[in-house]
Amino acid sequence: MAQDKPKLKLAVYWGAACGGCCVSVLDVHEKLLDILAHADLVFWPIALDIKYKDVEEMPDGSIDITLFNGAVRNSENEHMAHVLRQKSKILIAYGSCAYLGGIPGLANFSTREELLRRVYEESESLDNPQKIHPQPSTEVSEGHLHIPSFYNDVLTLGQVVDVDYYIPGCPPQSERLVEVFMDIVSGKDLPPKGSVIGASIRVQCDECKRKKSDKKGITRFYRPWEVTDDGETCLNEQGILCMGPATRAGCGVRCVEGNAPCRGCYGPLDGIGDAGARILSAIASMLDGKEPEEISRATDSIVDPAGTFYRFSLPGSKLRRKVS
């Protein structure tokens, strides 16, 4: 492939993440070759052995695009967020965790102390009679040992550094990444800074092919295994809690196409401050019943409502965290 432009420099980094976002980059399959035709990967801990100090020594702004996945939940994540911001021309919050806090963000329903106590004192598989907690700094015979300090709050990337774009998804659909990348390479006009890219401006229902009516009439909720989905009616109308009505489209309605309810990983639409509150009020509006008892019966059948409605968005929402 002929090159008249110098190759772009591309970095991929993970904060508090599961690794799924990095895998989604690999999931572009042979398209990775197209990307590599236009870009050199200069930093990608999951795939390349490049140390932090190598990155720190790069000139400021020398990386063209950084895909930062994962939330910011400790001092290491935050340090690298600042470093990569400084070194990158375009910093993209890649995936639900970097965008809104994601699954790790659910930790904001607990305090740091509660989390450490659970993990280091109460966990069923634990053998820690001395109740030792990890310390940021420890004295050993070889000298000082440092590990990153663990924050009380899980933060989104945007809460820590200035972010140019957000690509939602847990993980983002790989095709969307290729599209975004090719747009950048081909010099298309980029959307305004701060935009969510690689996704629709409308919610899942817009692309969902299931039959929808104005009669939602939910009297109770079922977990997917409790009912037989008819395969064609709106899942919410069948009482299967689906986040589609308040979740941005862009994934191709993948979960619902696979007969599973949308979990909400693409987050809310533009201008919606609190994704959880938005889906909560949308779902509440579908309930049947006028008497408080009828409504309670329906809402009581929602398992873990806070975790369900804020599954991917707690740190990035107005609610942000549990007040300890």
Binding site: R202, V203, Q204, C205, K212, D214, K215, P245, L269, S285
Partner: protein, 661 residues
């Protein structure tokens, strides 16, 4: 604090004489506001609502090029319109104005000046952060449908219907009972003039029936209400009488021919003191003069095996046993609710023995007993047919009582005096009135009390503790003993009587809450419908175009009900004759680009303003039907619905302003 570069806010704080200035440091608030972002000018002034106050806004707009106005003063209910008009006169769109209520929300409710001032600052900051995101909006004019719906055909509804119809407007009068007349039709005489209730009421009832401008829908109930001021859409369910109303002439041949030779079923109109047949008319002057069949007691409906002697006796073929409830749809511009009250259920005061002792009666039962067309033809005889020689009338049953209803029912003192007079007249018995306080304010009322004092009726001041048949001496044997502390002589007395009359109070009707919800109006603590203002808007409600009159708003007697009905009629007529209403532009609209067609919003809309466009796959809000409740805005998962005056950015900025200094 959120900033809009183009906004130039003029801020004014009103002293409201001492009302605000005594508890809020208005100068400090004005100085504070002057430093807030976007604020170009900040002033305090003695009376912002005065003409000089309003003119000051206009002058400042010109000099300082203001484009947003915030006034911190009293309640928007009182003066929002004043300042919107002032803003508009100054050449700015009136919706660039925001009002802060620091009187009801700060000065009047606090006793710590420093804290009240701090709170006023917070509220002001919230309004200023909000107003910069306001948008220019226009009020919309909508014509008023001149037809009127009146719900309830008691004396209030009847009076209002005649007044409005006489003004040349079309009236639909809906009454749930088979006849109009309400409670007044059951009364014998009216206080204090002792006019015969039927003599003054029945001409009005037949006037209603004959009036070309009034459509009487008796035995009907409103089942749904849609729309908004000037344009209400009402569904009325007409219950089946099993008689074709237009054919029946009220000859009552069917009643005589009923398979039941004897009347067997409790007669509601006579408070159960007599019996009626399954085919019946509530009372001889019932309006309309149309019989009806009670399908719960009629043999035909119970077994299907009745020879239908009633129908055979009808020479007009007026019977139709297959009648079903029919829904009639009405379009009206204004609605008057005259749905009345229910009498306190005496069984809720068990210490007075109602239901246990056959000689304990409610006042309404006694109204029927003294009535010439009542169950005994006007002879006051007890259930054992004996004539009472002594009668005790207990006031305030279910009124002025922590255990039941706290309020004074206003009519019981006077009707008790009336009943005392009538009972004395009919029986010449010894009559005792047991009262807490005699409340007789009203034209000729105190004089009536005076008259009774001279008629030999006994008055004992004290709340009766108990009515029992427990005799402690021969003198009490076979009698009902009223035990009471006579507070004027300071001792407990036992008064044996043959008959006890319980002066039951007035309370909200059992369906008042359903009615309230259907018509979207509020009620006060006790459940009576809430007026817009207790002094200055006593017949208006918080829902424009819906008025209240009579005892549904609170206990009141006939003269007050009629006066209130007149007032409500006048309010309705004023609205009708103004020809149009201005609608607050707080309507919601859908950004089609964002709408995903999920249709969650459609069923949420209480006003049926949202429809689904199948072609486009998008929902659409009919602005004329939208009342700005905001329910759909919350329901929309896409955030595709925006409500004017309540946009997310406006509300969030207001909250931000409130919380963050």
């Amino acid at each position: 604090m959120p900033v809009n570069e183009e906004a130039r806010v003029g801020f004014y704080i009103c002293h409201c004489g001492h009302n605000i200035a005594n508890m809020v440091d208005v100068t400090a608030v004005a100085e504070y506001a002057a430093k807030l972002p976007n604020v170009v000018l900040s002033r305090d002034y003695k009376y912002m609502c005065s003409d000089p106050g309003q003119e000051m806004i206009a002058k400042d707009v010109e000099v300082f090029k203001l484009n947003r106005i915030v006034v911190a003063s009293c309640s928007p209910l009182l003066h929002e319109n004043t300042f919107r008009t002032a803003t508009s006169k100054a050449g700015i769109n009136q919706f660039y104005f925001q009002m802060v209520n620091i009187r009801e929300n700060a000065s009047w409710v606090h006793e710590d000046k420093e804290m009240a001032t701090l709170k006023a600052k917070d509220l002001v900051r919230a309004a200023i952060s909000r107003v910069v995101f306001h948008k220019a909006l226009e009020k919309k004019k909508v014509p008023v449908n001149p037809d009127v719906l009146i719900v309830g055909g008691g004396i209030s509804g009847i009076s209002a219907a005649l007044t409005i119809a006489n003004a040349g407007k079309k009236v639909y009068l809906v009454e749930k009972e088979p006849t109009i007349g309400g409670y007044m039709a059951k009364f014998d005489k009216t206080f204090p003039t002792l006019d015969c209730a039927a003599c003054i009421l029945t001409p009005k009832m037949s006037a209603v029936l004959k009036h070309p401008g009034i459509t009487l829908l008796s035995y009907s109930e409103v089942s749904a209400v849609d729309g908004y001021v000037g344009n209400y859409h009402v569904k009325v369910t007409r219950k089946p009488r099993y008689i074709i109303e237009e054919k029946c002439v009220g000859c009552f041949a069917c009643i005589d021919a009923c398979i039941f030779k004897e009347a067997k079923f409790s007669d509601e109109f006579n408070e159960g003191l007599s019996k009626r047949k399954p085919v019946y008319i509530p009372f001889p002057q019932a309006t309309p003069q149309v019989v009806l069949i009670d399908d719960k007691t009629c043999i035909h409906f119970k077994t299907g095996k009745c020879p239908q002697t009633c129908a055979k006796a009808c020479d007009r073929n007026a019977f139709d046993f297959d009648q079903k409830p029919v829904v009639q749809e009405l379009e009206v511009g204004t609605i008057l609710l005259c749905t009345g009250f229910q009498p306190f259920d005496a069984a809720r005061a068990p210490y007075y023995g109602y239901g246990r002792y056959s000689n304990v009666y409610t006042s309404l039962e006694v109204e029927r007993l003294v009535n010439a067309s009542g169950p005994t033809g006007g002879h006051v005889v007890l259930r054992d047919k004996s004539k009472p020689k002594s009668i005790g009338i207990i006031h305030c049953v279910g009124s002025r009582d922590e255990k039941t209803n706290k309020w004074c029912s206003r009519v019981c003192c006077m009707y008790s005096l009336k009943l005392a007079h009538l009972l004395k007249e009919h029986t010449d018995a010894e009559i005792y009135n047991f009262y807490i306080d005699m409340r007789t304010p009203g034209k000729g009322y105190e004089e009536f009390y005076d008259k009774l004092l001279n008629e030999g009726v006994h008055f004992i001041r004290g709340r009766v503790a108990e009515v029992s048949d427990w005799a402690i001496n021969d003198h009490e044997k076979g009698k009902l003993v009223i035990r009471v502390e006579d507070t004027l002589i300071g001792m407990v007395r036992r008064i044996p009587v043959d008959m006890v009359v319980l002066a039951v109070g007035i309370e909200p009707g059992k369906d008042a809450q359903d009615i309230r919800r259907m018509f979207n109006i509020s009620c006060s603590n006790e459940g009576f419908f809430l007026e817009r203002h207790p002094k200055l808007a006593p017949v208006e409600t918080f829902t424009d175009g819906i008025y209240i009159a009579g005892a549904c708003q609170g206990p009141r007697d006939i003269p007050d009900s009629v006066a209130q009905a007149g007032a409500a009629a006048a309010q309705a007529l004023a609205l009708i004759d103004s020809g149009f209403v201005e609608l607050e532009p707080n309507t919601a609209f859908i950004t089609e680009e964002l709408c995903c067609g999920c249709q969650v919003c459609i069923n949420m809309c209480p006003y049926h303003a949202i429809t689904f466009d199948d072609g486009k796959g998008k929902s659409h809000i009919n602005e004329a039907l939208c009342k700005g409740c905001g329910t759909c805005v919350a329901a929309c998962g896409s955030g595709a619905i925006t409500q004017n005056l309540f946009e997310d950015q406006q509300i969030l900025s207001e909250i931000y302003g409130l919380l963050v200094e």
